[in-house]
Amino acid sequence: MKKELGIFVLLVVLCVVVSIKNPDFLQAVNLQNMARRIGMYGIYSIGLGVVIITSGIDLSVGSVFALQGIVMSIMLENWGWPWYLATPLIVVGVMALGWLHGVMVARVGMQPFIVTLCGLLIYRGVARFISGDRALGIGAGEYGVLKALAQAKPLGVPMPFVILIVVTAVMWVLLHRSVYGRYLFAVGKNEDAARFSGINTRRVIASAYVLCMALTAISGIIFVFDTGSIQGSNFGNFYELYGIAAAVLGGCSLRGGEGSVIGIVIGTALLQVLQNLVNLLGIDSSLNFAVMGTVIFVGVLADQILTQRRAAKQSVAH
């Protein structure tokens, strides 16, 4: 609980400071924008967190968004398929990619970094090729439900945020209260010990990648219907880094075996608030990434120092 409290405090302080310097931050429109973005980015960040907990990583998320967007556009617009046919196909297709990653990592034994890096390159290339490197889009068709996913505002709360809350609740139970979750953490912390305790480590690791892609697919649909225009070359560019940053800020260790769902959501919120802050305070937008990077760095550094100090105090020599 301590780690999450730390960045939660950081988040609250940042929000307070921004509101003081520019009260526009608290406007309904702005808060709704923020909520929507946190929802969109948060859903797949949780998925990335799951993979990170198994001491793996998935760099291909951004490129999957591009490929998924292009394929969805082609299915819905060019081929005129109905949304209830296209959507499950897309989701299953993306999860199949996850399964592929999982098999490569868990069964063949390749390093997750390499496997998903190749994914990053290949999927984007394919996306660009299929789309002829032109921007595809979702027109004004009757995609009622899908459009609502991205744009509806039940009770004034943007739908993506609502979905995020649901996903968070489900994932929290899965990760912190279920047998599967305990296995994930054990495998991430010490794969050998997990195997010697009878856990099917291969299946656990592979499933983490599938789960990540499932959440990516959901996020992807929302992104597509939010933006409307998908350019194969830059749709979703760098999004995996946002996810990883959110996960790390939220307490996931890249060494595996640690993490919390709530922390990841707070981490996502923190990143989005930072971006909003840059815009609202009129900071030159070219410094956008620099501000984000600095805050993340300082946050993780502070945590590192505090952990070391605590460990030193606790070390009782024999």
């Binding site: 400071v17 520019n22 526009d24 032109r134 815009n279 305070l281």
Partner: protein, 332 residues
């Protein structure tokens, strides 16, 4: 407990540090956020580009000159790092949330941004510049008639290759309206002549790729006689690739816009001619137009909603004068 306090202190320090470096993106501005453009009070106008090219630095100079002349404008100049519709959407949302009176935007993908643009147009004054979104409810378009510009380029091509020849065309994204119009203009003009287009290659705004596209094309088609760049950075990219391949003078270059390298190339004779838009005017006229309309003068908008800024053909003869003038304008 100590950890919480520590984090709190760090957060506070960070936030104030970050907050202190603010207000660098506006011109002649203080932030009060409460004014809504009543006459005499500060007008908040935004100029949003489609990528981070040098072309827009010139436009920015024009914007800032207009602001200084008008005296009551808060300018928000937004330049997304890449041609992303998602980024532009975010910028528009944030501008609306911040409070804005008028936005001028060069949309990355007008065909698919209609919904978003209409959404904005419903709330504030929206005009397009550089690349039009004719299907949307934008109030006006300020910019080049790219088709006419393309035709101008076509004429220059016919001059450069009196005996005809093969040409290669390079651009960032062919789907952008301005790119397509220019390409069509060129094609229309060289129809029936002995000038023939081999192909068009895109680079998505990546300067490095722009140059390697040219290099690869020269290798693949050694008999190409002229290289055409449709976007502002394509000119310098072509020039560098030609220099690298040691083909200056052997392969002709016709391009668009007036980056410094391009103008130097024209002066040296490496580039036959460049068709310049007047991005300075884009910025200047867009801001002035928005200010007038926000001040109540709807007649500032032309009947056909198109305020065309004419293009100029710059060649060795007039480059010096043009460049001197440009430097003067930038100097402001």
């Amino acid at each position: 407990m100590g950890k919480i306090l520590y984090t709190f202190a760090v957060a506070l320090a960070l936030a104030f540090l970050v907050g202190c470096g603010s207000d660098t993106g506006t011109v002649s501005g203080t932030k009060d956020g409460a004014n809504k453009g009543a006459a005499g009070k500060k007008l908040r106008l935004a100029y949003v580009t489609n990528n981070a090219s040098d072309f827009w630095t010139i436009a920015r100079a024009g914007c800032e000159k207009a602001c200084t002349e008008l005296g009551n404008v808060d300018l928000a100049f937004r330049m997304p790092p890449e041609n992303s519709a998602a980024l532009q959407k975010q910028i528009l949302e944030d501008l609306l949330a911040k409070g804005i009176d008028g936005i001028a935007i060069s949309p990355v993908d007008p065909a698919h941004q209609t919904d978003i643009l209409n959404d904005v147009a419903r709330q504030v004054l929206l005009i397009t510049h550089d690349s039009d979104a004719a299907d949307s409810n934008r109030a006006c378009y300020v910019g080049t008639d790219n088709f006419a510009a393309g035709k101008q380029a076509g004429e220059l091509l016919k001059q450069a290759l009196p005996d005809g020849g093969k040409i290669m065309v390079f651009v960032g994204v062919l789907d952008a309206q301005n790119a397509r119009d220019r390409y069509e203009g060129i094609k229309e003009t060289i129809k029936g002549s002995k000038v023939e287009i081999i192909d068009c290659r895109t680079d998505d705004g990546d300067r490095v790729r722009a140059k390697s596209n040219v290099a690869d094309s020269m290798t693949k088609y050694p008999d190409v006689s002229c290289l055409v760049g449709l976007w502002s950075y394509n000119g310098p990219a072509i020039l560098r690739a030609v220099k690298d391949a040691d083909k200056v003078g052997k392969v002709k270059i016709v391009c668009f816009d007036e980056e410094d390298e391009t103008l130097k190339g024209v002066k040296d004779g490496a580039i036959y001619a460049t068709v310049v838009q007047q991005p300075y005017e884009f910025g200047y006229q867009a801001i002035k137009l928005m200010a007038k309309v926000c001040g109540g003068d709807k007649s500032a908008i032309p009947a056909n909603k198109l305020q065309i800024v004419p293009t100029l053909a710059i060649n060795k003869a007039n480059v010096d004068e043009f460049w001197a003038n440009l430097k003067k304008l930038r100097g402001k």
